[in-house]
């Protein structure tokens, strides 16, 4: 991932900012220019709770460059309490013990880095919601 792209996506990655349609109220994450539900172009920015339940997941055993130290790890699709689905890594868990329907929450984590001397990219990751 390149530095400018990561920087542009900061509001979404750091704060889970989404676009809420001013007409029909549907939430889009990432934010869109046109509402896919009603065609409106007016949105307000909302911050997602980051809490929800695991709707589906897959375990990555052969990871892409930059992620191999984390393998095996889970990538999940989480149905947030706001009703929308968001994809992300599920950290701090043994992927073999995950179950669909598990409650998860988000934490701020390191996502990747451009080698030992390049930029460090941060963002949200899901973790099991254990009330910690």
């Amino acid at each position: 991932m390149k530095v400018p792209r990561h920087w542009r996506e900061t509001p979404r990655r750091y704060r889970m900012e989404a676009g809420k349609c001013k007409k029909c109220g549907s939430i889009h994450f990432p934010a869109r220019l046109v509402c896919t539900e009603c065609g409106t172009k007016e949105f307000e920015t909302v911050r997602l709770s980051g809490k929800g339940e695991l709707a589906s997941y897959t375990v990555i055993r052969v990871a892409p460059t930059g992620f191999s130290d984390l393998a095996p790890y889970a990538i999940g699709i989480v149905k947030l309490d706001e009703g929308i689905r968001v994809m992300g890594q599920v950290a701090d868990c043994d992927p073999e013990t995950l179950k669909i329907g598990d409650r998860v929450t988000t934490q701020f984590r390191r996502i990747n880095e451009e080698g030992k001397t390049g930029m460090i990219m941060y963002g949200y990751k899901f973790v099991p919601d254990l009330g910690l």
């Binding site: 750091y14 701020f108 984590r109 941060y122």
Partner: protein, 348 residues
Amino acid sequence: MVGIVGYGTHIPRYRIKVEEIAKVWGADAPSYKKGLNLNEKSVPAPDEDCATLAVNAARNAVRRAGIDPQDIGAVYVGSESHPYAVKPTGTIVSEALGACPYVHTADLEFACKAGTEGLFIALSLVKAGEVTYALAIGADTSQGAPGDALEYSAAAGAAAFITGSNNLLAELVDTHCYMTDTPDFWRREHAYYPEHGGRFTGEPAYEKHVHGATNAILKKTKMKPEDLDYVIFHQPNGKFPVNAAKKLGFKEPQYRHGLLAPTLGNTYSGSSPMGLAATLDEAKPGDLIMLVSYGSGSGSDAFIFRATERLQQVRDIVPRVRKQLDEHKIYVEYGTYAKFRRKILKPE
């Protein structure tokens, strides 16, 4: 009146036991456990660093404070493990909280007391009327050299405090510092692990400064050890703070709640601030709490706070320190720990 309006902590879920480290280096675990009053320490996940710990702790502080992050006028992150040598951790934290762009920030370094130095600045800026709220964080993912005594204690964690002048959960009664140039511990630029002066770290360093700051603030406030309900001293291990407390005339019920090192290790800039957070988790309105940090190089900051009624109303909005420390721990073996902490040499 100025003080604390919100506090929060973050502790990684991973732990390594003293026995597991001692086994690898052929060291005697019982003597470390008894000698340092240390059983296990926290280990950051491979995707955690000073910035992530700081953000997750600060988010808890914002929730307890119940404020709009846009009203935070200054952010100070104290650490000796900032992820970049050049580029502030504070910008990452401010952006992640949603405090940008009208916010002062700077990263602070002063070994283990950078967090309380940030707290002093945050309290002082509010007192001066420069900002409505300020955020001070102590966060570290420090490393001891493999096999060194510090490897048994160097841990990871963060505590964040939002200071303000209304809706306080703890009022600042007074503060005092004690600082000299003392070469007990250092890490040169580009050096991966710190070096320390061995036994030199005890009496002329930790003890002299902790005692100096404690005696100075007690004299300034005309208080005696028995006037304080709780005390927290910097915790490079579980032994130093207990010895300091006893020598200064404090008793076990006063320091028990803030003593986290035996199962947390030394979280450096987060150490005594996390002890303060654990104490705020328990204190009753009107209780007097003294915090005394220590940072090698060397200095100590002392603070006395008085808990208010609001503390009880907000403490359970987010998890208490003891819950984060005692529940859902994941124990790792030395190999996993070495991988997580990037102690294993890999091809580029």
